[in-house]
């Protein structure tokens, strides 16, 4: 405990050691999110004498997972067999490798890379006579549908309701068929099938909930609808130990169907208590100042707070939301975040 107090500032320590209620830690860039998560996991390992639990640290990028693991192994009290730290995709991959057969799928699937996806899609486009359409375009459309948890049928309905042609949904259907026949899964399947699995085998959902009593999720601002659903399956409502970390100003995966609504839903579903981390340990004050000036221009405030991050001193920051294109432009100028790999 003393080590923790030495290594963490009081805010971080409170977030790390609070196992009384579910938390949403809002942290600005460079405020020590990874350190906080690492210490949280280590704190749980040390403070829970029972043997029968594991901690689950879910991240959005392999890089974040690796970084967390590198720090975690150095912390006293770390026990390999009690920890799973990895991306949502990795976690789902392992789950399906163990249990996909109980929803009629093969456990010995191969994961498609982009090239593989495009090659299947080229075939599918040919099958439905859409040879002129570039596979890249249809790939994006299908992935958007997947992340919104739309099946080919629902996707067709949505297209119809908008008065659009349903041919994209037909390609989507053919694509699903091809993948299943050749026992391959794309990245979105990993999440979607895991949700299906936990829904169809309730006993399995209980097994996972029993095992992972403590769940931490990094970069929650990047949660897609599918990932939100998976979280709901894994963490029972009423959990007192869920810890989600987010930076609303960094919806870096918005093009990946992450939406701030998902974060709001997560917050509402679990009744998350907000927790602000204020100090920035990474950027010099002038950079932060510039960032804050830019954030002020954001159009839709979410939290309605009027504070800004400060540098290693007490203070709050402003949490604002703006439309996608604006923010993307902003991010291109002020980039704190270095997690750019999206391969899961």
């Amino acid at each position: 405990m003393d080590i923790l107090k030495k290594e963490l500032d009081p805010d971080q320590f409170n977030a790390v050691s609070n196992l009384e209620r579910p938390l949403l830690v809002l942290a600005g860039p460079g405020s020590g999110k990874t350190r906080l998560l690492t210490h949280r996991l280590a704190y749980i390992l040390r403070s829970q004498p029972r043997k029968d639990f594991k901690v689950l640290g879910l991240t959005f990028t392999n890089k974040a997972a690796t970084e967390m693991m590198e720090r975690l192994v150095q912390i006293p009290g770390y026990r390999k067999e009690r920890v799973f730290v990895g991306t949502f995709h990795r976690f789902c991959q392992e789950t399906l490798q163990a249990y996909a057969c109980y929803i009629g799928r093969s456990r010995h699937f191969t994961i498609l890379d982009t090239e593989g996806q495009l090659s299947i899609l080229t075939e599918c486009l040919a099958e439905v006579g859409m040879t002129r359409v570039p596979p890249e375009g249809i790939k994006n459309a299908i992935e958007t549908a997947q992340k919104r948890m739309l099946s080919p049928v629902l996707y067709a309905k949505m297209l119809l309701s908008r008065g659009d042609s349903t041919s994209a949904a037909e390609v989507y259907r053919a694509y699903e068929f091809h993948k299943q026949a050749s026992e391959v899964l794309d990245f979105n399947d990993l999440i979607l099938l895991s949700i299906e699995l936990l829904r169809s085998v309730p006993a399995l959902q209980r097994i996972y909930q029993d095992t992972y009593e403590f769940v931490c999720i990094d970069e929650c601002q990047d949660t897609t609808l599918a990932q939100l659903e998976l979280t709901k399956m894994l963490v029972p409502q009423g959990s007192k130990t869920l810890l989600a970390v987010a930076d609303e100003d960094q919806l870096i995966f918005e093009w990946n169907e992450a939406r701030v609504e998902n974060l709001n839903e997560l917050e509402a579903h679990y009744g998350l208590t907000l927790f602000n981390l204020n100090r920035n340990y990474r950027c010099p004050p002038d950079v932060l100042d510039l960032a804050n000036k830019l954030i002020v221009n954001n159009k839709r405030p979410v939290r309605g707070e009027e504070e800004r991050p400060c540098c290693g001193e007490i203070g709050d920051r402003r949490l604002l939301y703006s439309g996608g294109s604006d923010r993307r432009r902003r991010r291109s100028r002020v980039r704190f975040e270095d997690d750019q790999d999206t391969d899961g």
């Binding site: 043997k51 029968d52 057969c101 109980y102 399995l204 097994i207 029993d210």
Partner: protein
């Protein structure tokens, strides 16, 4: 969690044996029927202490000629279910996170498959064990998993000395869990040093030490060091000392404590079981599974029942083998698994809880009847090759005498007589017939119960459909239905008669009179007649009981306590089992049929 089903193929005499198991499973059967093989097979997969793994000689074969390399592989499947309810515990979920299997109802279970086979390419025998899922294997069964479901086998020859003496035993493992504080270690080691020094003041011990020292110094070419060799009567290290701890027991009535290992086999045997219990409780091994061979060994009946009660009451799953009726009597009907040998192959039989239709196999009343009548005295039926089902105790007492007179030794051929308490043959036929225990049955029933018995046979599919109706039309119930199924009627079909009244009617009046005289005294019959008259007089009626026929007096007299006289009558009829001339045919038929069935069972 506990093992809920065992399926063994090609392990020693277990060619293809499967059975359901309970929290306590009682394996019974004749010697060499494969009881121990079941325990040793589980031990080879999950065993933790001194577990011997599969060996080429374990491969089942019908002929010695066949090389082990050519024999079929050993295949074992163990299924585990949650101890309570439908879900495993949180800890079990954590340990076996990715290894679960789900049945058709989505209920969780664990399945382990183990094989032992000859790998032709590698030219060696290979053992492989893994979890089993719907579509194939899961992870390999590593130590991490077997440690969570450890199996401990206490063999028939339980040797407390072995458990106490070596580090591989329960005691050593138990003592390894003792962790003394550094301060206390330091203090004890100092004291030990003092005690050792004190003992070395002994002249002889000191002289030995000096001699050893000189010799070793020469041999090892050491410089002369003052303390080069030390004899240490006591261990110098606390860990060593703890490990060498012994258990002492005060014998009843004595003032002296003796090491537990010096007591008789019975106490030692109990000692091993006590050690196991302490071991699993100290280490918190709630999922440990215990296999005990013959817990009754060397124990008197009360202690047998006590030990079984202890094993039954453990939180852990227990598999035991037994030849003791004191134990089978205490065991639940569904806990008993009967292993039978048919030629070179062993088969497992048990009472199913439910039928494939989902209905219970035994109705509640049938369960109750069986529990009432299969008590310690009668539970030997599970060990029998053939059972004679009879209505009452008279048969139980007289049949062995008749058999002796017919030169049949019922014990030698393995025949038990089971009184069913009236004519409730149904539940007994149900559990003794194939596919349950498959023990041959011979029935001796009274005339008035014959028709009901025939209907029972038909309803249990032991005789063809409608055969009862047909035979009744032709008045051939006995010939066409009952006797071909080894069911014999004492007296006439449809007439109420029991063994006593039957013998009486057969004319053994003098024998009954003699029996009364032998058992109750020569004057007892006369006194009985006077008493009856006195009762009549008291009721203001004419005291004319004595005027009745002598035969009636005897009949009334014996009606009070039939079985007592039947046994003596049988002895008198057969001149103490030396002649079968006067034994009524029906009993001869019953006993000959039982003998034949029993001999047929041996042949398989």
């Amino acid at each position: 969690m506990y093992i809920s089903r065992v399926h063994v193929k090609n392990f020693r005499c277990l060619k293809d044996v499967s059975f359901d198991t309970c929290k306590t499973t009682v394996l019974i059967g004749e010697n060499n029927a494969g009881k121990s093989a079941v325990l040793e097979c589980i031990n080879a997969i999950l065993g933790q202490l001194r577990a011997s793994r599969f060996e080429p000689k374990d491969l089942h074969t019908a002929s010695k000629e066949m090389l082990p390399e050519k024999r079929d592989p050993i295949e074992v499947e163990l299924e585990f279910q949650p101890s309570t309810g439908t879900a495993f515990t949180k800890e079990e979920h954590e340990v076996f996170l990715k290894q679960f299997d789900f049945d058709d109802n989505g209920l969780e279970r664990l399945r382990i498959s183990a094989t032992y086979s000859y790998d032709v390419a590698a030219q060696e025998f290979v053992y492989e064990a893994h979890f089993q899922k719907k579509d194939g294997p899961g992870d390999r069964l590593t130590q991490r998993y077997t440690k969570a479901i450890p199996f401990y086998l206490a063999e028939a020859l339980r040797d407390l000395g072995r458990e106490m003496g070596t580090r591989g035993g329960f005691w050593g493992k138990l003592m390894d869990t003792v962790k003394l504080s550094d301060a206390s270690k330091h203090e004890i080691e100092k004291l030990l040093g003092d005690v050792n020094a004190e003992m070395l003041k002994d002249k002889t011990l000191n002289a030995i030490q000096i001699k050893l020292k000189e010799m070793l110094e020469t041999v090892m070419n050491l410089e002369k060091v003052k303390e080069g060799v030390v004899i240490s009567p006591l261990a110098q290290e606390t860990t060593e000392m703890v490990r060498r701890s012994d258990i002492y027991l005060k014998a009843p009535g004595a003032d002296v404590y003796f090491p537990l290992t010096t007591f008789g086999m019975g106490i030692q045997s109990v000692g091993v079981l006590a050690l196991f219990r302490t071991y699993v409780e100290t280490l918190g091994l709630t999922n440990a599974i215990l296999g005990v061979e013959e817990p009754e060994a060397h124990l008197h009946p009360h202690l047998q029942r006590f030990i079984f009660g202890e094993l039954h009451g453990l939180a852990n799953q227990v598999f035991l083998t037994t030849h003791s009726t004191f134990i089978t009597d205490e065991a639940g009907l569904y806990e008993i698994v009967l292993l039978k040998r048919k030629g070179p192959v062993a088969l497992a039989r048990q009472i199913p809880r439910v039928l494939p239709s989902g209905k219970p196999f035994l109705e509640k009343t049938e369960e109750r009847i069986l529990r009432n009548y299969i008590n310690a005295e009668n539970s030997e039926v599970f060990f029998a090759k053939c059972v004679i089902l009879a209505e009452g105790k008279s048969e139980k007492l007289t049949f062995p005498i008749f058999a002796k007179a017919m030169n049949i030794n019922l014990d030698q051929v393995g025949v038990s007589v089971l009184p069913v308490g009236g004519s409730q043959f149904r539940p007994f036929l149900k559990i003794l017939s194939p596919p349950v225990f498959d023990v041959s049955c011979v029935v001796a029933c009274d005339g008035d119960a014959a028709k009901a018995l025939a209907n029972t046979l038909e309803s249990l599919d032991l005789v063809p459909k409608d055969s009862v109706k047909k035979s009744l039309q032709n008045d051939r119930l006995l010939e066409d239905v009952l006797e071909p199924r080894r069911c014999f009627v004492v007296g006439k079909v449809g007439v109420k008669e029991n063994l006593e009244s039957f013998l009486f009617a057969q004319g053994f009046v003098a024998e009954f009179e003699q029996a009364i005289s032998d058992l109750d005294g020569a004057s007892s019959l006369d006194e009985y007649v006077q008493k009856r008259d006195a009762t009549l007089r008291g009721q203001g009626k004419p005291a004319e009981y004595h005027k009745l026929d002598r035969k009636q007096h005897i009949l009334d007299y014996i009606n009070d306590a039939k079985p007592r006289y039947a046994e003596r009558v049988a002895e008198l009829m057969t001149k103490d089992g030396t002649t079968d001339e006067r034994i009524p045919d029906v009993f001869k038929k019953v006993l000959r049929a039982a003998e034949a069935a029993s001999l047929a069972a041996v042949k398989g």
